[in-house]
């Protein structure tokens, strides 16, 4: 209020004092020659070519760095996948590695495990994160909830894997708790059963990464136009109805982006497998990443591991070019 009053009074005040003003303007003029007006010689006349090359120069270092770390390994992997590598000895094998790998039950199992463990884990995370976000975003204590829910994500993944390994297997805590509430009678051997072993991986992943989706969903819900919610409220809609009919469709692009990013990370799952199960029982929890690692760095079948890498790379490119591209296009608009 004071501001606008001041501003309104401003013009007449200026008029009253127009005389000293004029003189001050003159003194500005007097010093004007000192302001270096560039002479024609120093003018930068940039050629159109220079102007159009500039942005390329800016992105070049980053792109070259990434090419070095992706394109070079890609080519190397394709090349190496054509050999049988025994320590330093490379023997030409043509497409043998690929032929073998496509008939390798372990490879297909790894692909299937990645899809099943990753898919279940991703689905659970998405549902839990959405439900939590729905209840939390209007809550007065949202800042507190967010910090608590955030914590698992900030734990080192390797430590999280050790924690759940201890809870499930070595420390028998989960079994003990289940016995207390009467769900089981004896001690559960989590690594003896295919589905129980997979369950431990899923629990660890859901526990650590649900926050990722939660944080994003809450931000999206909080960023939505409150007037729309208020209008729906006045139209007589309940909160679940508002969420289901208005908020959820509006956050669709956000959900797509977040779930896509999370999904990509899940397919690369390695740490938990390495620490918690090592693929057991009988390879039922071996993921693609762990398969490649085991072939390359345990069995030293580098050519074979490279062939698996190339196949996985092809799948990644396919997914990136279709799903992810679309997700980010729609997410940005």
């Amino acid at each position: 209020m004071r501001m606008s009053l001041r501003a309104c009074m401003w013009a007449p005040a200026r008029l009253c004092r127009s005389k000293p003003m004029a003189s001050s303007a003159h003194s500005i003029k007097a010093v004007a020659p000192a302001t270096a007006r560039p002479s024609t010689g120093t003018l930068r006349r940039r050629s159109p070519r220079m102007r159009s090359a500039f942005p390329y120069l800016l992105v070049a270092p980053a792109v070259l760095y990434l090419l070095a770390i992706t394109l070079y390994p890609g080519i190397f992997a394709i090349y190496q996948s054509l050999f049988v590598v025994r320590f330093v000895k490379w023997t030409w094998a043509g497409l043998d590695n690929y032929e073998r790998i496509l008939q390798d039950a372990e490879f297909w199992a790894a692909l299937w495990n990645t899809i099943i463990v990753g898919g279940l884990s991703l689905g659970l995370q998405t549902v839990i994160a959405l439900a939590l976000a729905y209840f939390a975003y209007r809550d007065p204590l949202i800042r507190g909830w967010r910090i608590i829910y955030l914590m698992p994500m900030l734990f080192m993944p390797s430590a999280v894997a050790f924690m759940w390994k201890l809870a499930f297997n070595d420390g028998r805590v989960i079994s003990d708790l289940l016995m207390t509430i009467g769900l089981t009678h004896g001690n559960v051997d989590w690594l003896a059963s295919v589905w129980l072993a997979r369950l431990t991986l899923i629990v660890a992943d859901v526990w650590q990464w649900t926050p990722f989706l939660f944080i994003i969903f809450v931000a999206a819900l909080q960023g939505q136009d409150q007037e729309i919610e208020e209008a729906a409220r006045l139209d007589g809609a309940s909160w679940p109805a508002i969420f289901w009919n208005i908020s959820l469709p509006m956050m669709r692009p956000v959900i797509v982006v977040a779930v896509t990013l999370r999904g990509i990370d899940i397919t690369t799952m390695f740490t938990n497998v390495y620490i918690m199960t090592q693929g057991s029982p009988g390879g039922a929890t071996e993921t693609m990443s762990f398969f490649i690692y085991r072939q390359g760095f345990r069995m030293f079948n580098f050519g074979y591991a490279s062939a698996a890498s190339v196949l996985m790379l092809a799948m990644t490119i396919l997914i990136a070019q279709t799903l992810v591209k679309r997700a980010f296009r729609s997410g940005r608009s």
């Binding site: 606008s4 309104c8 401003w10 127009s18 001050s24 500005i28 010093v31 302001t35 007006r37 003018l43």
Partner: protein, 348 residues
């Protein structure tokens, strides 16, 4: 400080034509306003003068020098933006100082120049604040100070007042005009607000779809519009434009019959300003559609056929809606436009 010439300027964005073959002479020390609806090419024209856009064809001359190839940073023009464009991370002092630093003005002169510029816009007390801590009007004054601090050859102002509320806008308008007269810097001012254009300009350039519609003093633009676009754009409410037939010195349209020059024949458009109409008289028969008193005058909307005609009536005029009413025109202030929208002028 400098005159500006635009010679056959063309600007295309892909297949979209922003500015089409535009030529314009701007005199030294002139205050020129580019006026038009959004998307008419006025801002593009200004940005080409600034060097922020490069014309597809044609020549831009500032102070006698062709500047097409010269970067914006070296053109010695100062620009004031609609959103103020103050650097958010710098204090007002550093904002005003920025052009001095960039143009390598000796450092020992900075402080004096900054304080003088801030004094001109009465912002001396706010120099160490960040832009975020200022009101809209103060920010706009800071942007002005940043533009004047280095006495540029040309001022460019891109809708500088459109983010301010109405009261503030009026007082800033006076200030800008005063300052321009003081500093005598050639100024190009872009706006879509005809009041700003009329009050500020030495000359107004009206643009539409990248083409100049008319160039003239505010008086000329108002009382001698070149075509229906200008006639329908200027004035508040603007001129009534009524299509009809003229024959044997009489213009007829639904509910309208007025004498016209015998030289006007065929399908033409009649133009009449709301203030040149009076209640009573017999040129137009219609029904009262709406009556809007504003205090000093009353706006009357009359419906004839499917058209609405705006009239400025006396302040105490009142009438219930849907009653028949008769309107008279000031016959000395009728305008006629041909079918293609061009003004039909009386033969000299």
């Amino acid at each position: 400080m400098a005159s500006i010439q635009l010679n056959n300027i063309v600007k295309r964005f892909g297949s979209f034509v922003g500015v089409e073959n535009m030529s314009l002479d701007i005199a030294d020390e002139e205050f020129l306003v580019l006026l038009g609806p959004s998307g008419c090419g006025k801002t593009t024209t200004m940005r080409m003068i600034a060097g922020l856009e490069h014309p597809t064809g044609g020549q831009i001359v500032i102070g006698g020098e062709v500047v097409n190839e010269i970067d914006a940073r070296d053109r010695d023009v100062a620009m004031v933006f609609q959103g103020y464009a103050l650097y958010p991370n710098m204090s007002i002092y550093d904002n005003i100082r920025f052009p001095l630093r960039m143009r390598k003005v000796p450092a020992d002169q900075h402080d004096r120049l900054i304080r003088r510029a801030a004094e001109m816009v009465e912002l001396g007390a706010f120099l160490d604040r960040k832009p975020g801590a200022l009101s809209g009007g103060q920010r706009q004054r800071a942007a002005l100070a940043r533009a004047v601090v280095r006495e540029p050859q040309v001022f460019l102002m891109d809708e500088p007042l459109s983010n301010l509320d109405a009261k503030l806008r009026a007082s800033m308008r006076v200030q800008i005009k005063h300052m321009q007269r003081q500093l005598k810097v050639t100024t190009v001012y872009v706006t879509h607000d005809q009041i700003e254009a009329m009050t500020l300009a030495d000359r107004i350039v009206i643009m539409n779809r990248g083409i100049i519609q008319q160039v003239g003093t505010p008086d000329e633009i108002y009382s001698d519009p070149a075509n229906t676009f200008v006639a329908g754009f200027i004035g508040s409410p603007p001129m009534n434009l009524l299509a009809g037939e003229a024959r044997d010195g009489i213009f007829r349209s639904e509910g309208i019959e007025v004498p016209c020059p015998r030289t006007v024949t065929g399908s033409v458009t009649l133009g009449i300003r709301p203030e040149d109409c009076t209640v009573g008289g017999g040129h137009l028969q219609g029904m009262v559609y709406g009556v809007e008193p504003t205090g000093d005058i009353t706006y009357l909307t009359v419906q004839t056929g499917k058209r609405a005609v705006e009239i400025k009536a006396a302040r105490d005029f009142r009438a219930p809606i849907d009653t028949p009413i008769s309107i008279g025109f000031d016959l000395s202030r009728l305008y006629f436009f041909s079918e293609n929208g061009e003004r039909i002028r009386r033969p000299a």
